[in-house]
Amino acid sequence: MNNTKNLLRGILVSALFRAGIANADYTLNMPVGVTKISREVHDLHMMVIWICFGIGLVVFGVMFYSFYHHRKSRGAVAATFHENGAVEILWTLIPFIILISMAVPATRTMMDLDDTRYAELTIKVTGYQWKWRYDYIDEGFGFMSQLDANSNAARQLGSDVDPRSVENYLLNVDHPLVIPVNKKVRFLFTAADVLHSWWVPELGWKKDTVPGFINESWTLVDRPGTYRGQCAELCGRDHGFMPIVVIAKSQEDYSKWLAAQKAAIRANEASADKTWTKDELIAKGEEVYKANCASCHQAGGEGIPGTFPAIKGSAVATGALQQHIDLVLNGKGAMMPSFAAMLSATDLAAVITYQRNAFGNDAGDFVQPSQIAPLVKAPADDEDEVE
């Protein structure tokens, strides 16, 4: 058995060594992270590992001694003892004491983790299939955040793009979450469709997002930087493709970013008032379609039989315009979400126009953002505060 252990260790070490050469980025252990909580969690993690290592050393030590010295082939004769009250009580009590020594610091960290009071900033995180929405509650604006276009192109089945050529493959988004450093940020979590779980290892925790319920957590990042994570709760087909990027900025940079966001929102609102040509709408609609619809209805609008209906040649996309608008805005059943809150009026008008005029659909008509705007209520109530 000693040989086995050595053999296993040999294979493991050589495997690790190979991994080390091939990719300097690999890690073996939990990240220490950039918050007080993440460091406490890491300490707990290491403490339990060392306790287990100690117990393992004793138990496996005794076992391997026995494997070697008490072998029949070495002429060992079996003893006849088969119980010992004192020993049995001892090895029930000792683990109990060890457990208490683990439970005490764990309780302390658990209480810290749970304490969301005195936050200086609140961000609402909503999980969607398969993207995130971040709402800056105090600032009155929000945006969607999803897998970046490069990763998205590379990850398609049968794509010719080598994932290794994509920077931060599957861990990059179009609009990262931005937070200030050294400020206690409270997160409120919910979901629009199914369960998701918001996990950034460098922050030290994950939290599930449950449709219809609000969960809370908090962070206080003490180092500016970019921290990446992923959805951790199985949420359907593209569960593996909804990353999270958090950028922690100094207060000054954060304020600049905030101002730029608000300016952009005003510009977008203005674009909803202008009159668009059909071609402009189709061009913009194609982008919106790829980012928001293609993962289910597929790039060519053919859908997936039995799961996602086709848009190509569908009764809705070739029939009455109002019916099409209603479906996109309000959603349908468990799978088709309501896009009213997810996309701007401009994007909605563009994508509906695109669907009616692409994939061989020949409805021929189109809809102006200004027609959609009155139908989209949320998050308009938040936008009032921006002014």
Binding site: W205, I304, G306
Partner: protein, 528 residues
């Protein structure tokens, strides 16, 4: 018990029926045990092929072979098939074969029900498998079938739900049978505290099954009505709560892992003494530890849901209760170690698998202790670390003891010795490949790789490749096992009644000839 003995006396010299109808209509515990075991082996290969599709896709970053939706179906079906099709039937097979022989009974107490519980199982698994061929595919929401995601399933949901109902009926029938057999049919003089530990662990497991399976059946029925009959048990919009399902599921799901592991403990407690040539250390503390584990398993379920948004008091309670399980589990490991201590050890294949179990399961116990630490679980949860952990406990607990048991009792069942060299090769390949597969998954999880994803970031590439290579070796190594079993059934060196040195002191099954006659103990043996 006298009545059972008389009814069997009427035809105790009958052999099995001839032809295939023997297997359809049999009420013989040995035939039914064999069918359970063969079915389990077949499902091991089915579930194995499913996961090899997964590991092939994960061999390299990028999507090469399968659609993400199909990938999710494969991880889901792999788990369901392995848990309900392979591991649980394997232990039911061992129970059928061995419990009557271990307690000196002529057969199981309820032989017709025994036949029924096997065939219901087969139909249940076929029903589940039929979803693979449906438009929209097999269930893909994970084996936990969490709503609301599972409610997005297409036609497969009612099939999966009905399959769970049938699986539950099958297991409950088998459990009732085991409880009645163990409590009523022991040979005169075999008191409960003299009963082999395998019977004890199965007795307690059977009670666990009866306690938790109805809850699971109720939970999936609520899924069905939510999906098709307009209820909102798990829909917040109708006043329900998706997390309620998780509580119901894990009230079943956590004991379920002990349902798998307790009979494993029984097997190990049977085999280790034989190859240590020494009595089991601490028999009564083993019985109490088994009972404590079973009890604790009923009150720790929400440690699977630390991140779901529980009140602080809930987090702390479930952490403390979960940590407590380490105490009786530790007692078991210490007792096995003390059994081997100053024994006269030899390492035939059953002993190798048993020792492999003890070591690897202990490692799985260590990671379990880490996961029990609630704040740290906010990092571990739903990552590959968890995948590694439960394969160290469930693969090691669900297959190593079964392999150990099959090698141990195969000569008794077939009357032929198996090929020891091939058996040992099977062990070493399995143990090494197992570690190549699952050890790197710890590192992947700690580095931040979530579970159930079909594609991953580049920094996870190397360990995934190693893991996939291990998985293929692990899968193909099991063909050796199938071959060794086949060989022993076909022929080979004749086995003595005792088979293993001094085994006749270790259990009643070694006092009957090898192969065991179709009817054993038609007259109850005397226990001193």
């Amino acid at each position: 018990m006298t009545s059972a003995a008389t009814t069997h006396d009427d035809h105790h010299d009958h052999g099995p029926e001839t032809g295939w109808m023997r297997w359809v209509t049999t009420t013989n515990h040995k035939d039914i045990g064999t069918m359970y075991l063969v079915f389990a082996l077949a499902m091991l290969f089915v579930g194995g092929c499913m996961i090899l599709a997964v590991r092939a896709e994960l061999f390299e970053p990028g999507l090469q072979f399968v659609d993400p939706g199909f990938f999710n179906s494969m991880t889901t079906m792999h788990a369901l098939v392995m848990v309900f099709g392979a591991v649980m039937p394997a232990y039911a097979g061992l129970a059928n074969w061995m419990i009557p022989m271990m307690i000196g009974a002529p057969d199981m107490a309820l032989p017709r029900m025994n036949n029924m519980s096997f065939w219901v199982l087969v139909f249940a698994v076929l029903l589940l498998a039929s979803t693979l061929f449906m438009e929209g595919g097999a269930p893909a929401a994970g084996w936990t079938l969490y709503p609301p995601l599972v409610l997005q399933s297409g036609d497969n949901l009612p099939f999966a739900v009905f399959s769970v109902h049938l699986l539950g009926i099958s297991s409950i029938l088998a459990s009732i049978n085991i409880i009645v057999t163990v409590l009523n049919m022991r040979a005169p003089g075999m008191t409960l505290m003299k009963m082999p530990l395998f019977c004890w662990t199965w007795l307690i497991t059977a009670f666990l099954l009866i306690a938790v399976l109805p809850v699971f059946a109720a939970a999936v029925t609520m899924l069905l009505t939510d999906a098709h009959f307009g209820t909102s048990f798990f829909d917040a919009a109708g006043g329900g709560d998706p997390v309620l399902y998780q509580h119901l599921f894990w009230f079943f799901g956590h004991p379920e892992v002990y349902i798998i592991i307790l009979p494993a403990f029984g097997v190990i407690s049977t085999i280790v003494p034989t190859f240590s040539r020494k009595r089991l250390f601490g028999y009564s503390s083993m019985v109490y530890a088994t009972g404590s584990i079973a009890f604790l398993s009923l009150i720790v379920w929400a440690h699977h849901q630390f991140t779901v948004g529980m009140p602080l008091a809930g987090e702390l309670y479930f952490m403390y209760a979960t940590m407590l399980i380490a105490v009786p589990t530790g007692v078991k490991v210490f007792n096995w170690t003390a059994t081997m201590w100053r024994g006269s050890l030899s390492f035939e294949t059953p002993m190798l698998f048993s020792v492999g179990f003890i070591i690897l399961f202990t490692l799985g116990g260590f990671t379990g202790l880490m996961l029990a630490t609630a704040p740290a679980d906010f990092q571990y949860h739903d990552s590959y670390f968890v995948v590694a952990h439960f394969h160290y406990t469930l693969v090691v607990g669900g297959t190593f003891p079964v392999f150990a048991a099959v090698y141990y009792w195969l000569p008794k069942w077939t009357g032929h010795l198996y090929d020891e060299k091939l058996g040992q090769l099977h062990f070493w390949l399995t143990a090494i490949a197992f570690n190549i597969t699952f050890m790197p998954q710890h590192f992947l999880g700690l580095a931040g790789m979530p579970r159930r994803i079909p594609d991953y970031a580049i920094q996870f590439a190397d360990f995934n490749m190693i893991s996939s290579i291990g998985a293929f070796i692990l899968g193909f190594s099991q063909l050796i096992f199938a071959y060794v079993v086949y060989q022993a059934i076909k022929g080979g060196e004749k086995a003595s009644a005792e088979v293993w040195e001094n085994a006749s002191k270790m259990g009643l099954e070694w006092t009957v000839p090898s192969p065991a006659p179709y009817h054993t103990f038609t007259r109850a043996p005397e226990i001193e």
